[in-house]
Symmetry: C2
Subunit: 114 residues, 2 copies
DNA sequence: ACGATATTTCAGCATTCATTGAAATATCGA
DNA sequence: TCGATATTTCAATGAATGCTGAAATATCGT
């Protein structure tokens, strides 16, 4: 991950509502959840939510797909892991210090099992 | 670490120059380095640098001490580790997924050796 | 096609941010 | 104390941010 991407991802997470949104999506797992459900859970206006989703999406932390009239947003675990990797990579004077924390969904292994 | 602190730390790191500054301080180790050296290394105006140091300090990511006429800034590894902990804690639906990356200086164990 | 539901787009607004230049403060050496 | 070095403080400015309300778009059930 390049520094530019790291700054973008950090900026995307550096906001109260967006951090909540992302957290919620992470807990929802790779299947994601509809925008309306997020709006309901966090009590956010739909247009405000769209604004924040856009920022998360631009940062690569979230993806969207349409399902009927709902937009399903899902966390991008790989990007989050890349960010964690970038942050720990800066530690220890360059030498990797820890096995680097990995962020994966609780259950539901929809992705390639390594 | 509380969410408020995490947002503050993320915001502090979510800026090009500040990320550079913090990275430099991390590589400098717990002893830190004088403001002037940072200014020279990153080609930043001294007042701009003070502004960014303040933000990093408010976020708890950096500390200062005076040494002669120099101000020595040093990375707060514990705060950085707390942030990494907070971020990975949000993963995996609540259950800790990885041993959590730890950020410590390359050499020079000036701090308590656990 | 029509009305309802789900979400986005747009314009506007107050606030915060990052930077700059000029002046102030603190410490040191002679 | 004087001059130099190191850093901070202050005021000003343009750009970006987060939010709101109204209107637009897309999809569904009938």
């Amino acid at each position: 991950m390049k520094k530019t991407d790291a700054v973008a991802a950090l900026a995307a997470l550096a906001q109260d509502n967006r951090l909540d949104i992302f957290r919620l999506l992470v807990q929802a797992g790779p299947e994601g959840m509809p925008a309306g459900a997020v709006a309901g859970a966090l009590d956010l206006a739909p247009n405000t939510l769209t604004f924040h989703f856009d920022r998360l999406r631009t940062a690569g932390l979230v993806t969207v797909r349409r399902e009927g009239r709902s937009m399903i947003y899902a966390a991008q675990f790989e990007q989050m892991n890349a960010l964690l990797g970038f942050l720990t990579e800066n530690c220890c004077g360059g030498t990797p210090c820890a096995p680097a924390a990995e962020c994966k969904p609780a259950r539901k292994r929809t992705k390639v099992p390594a």
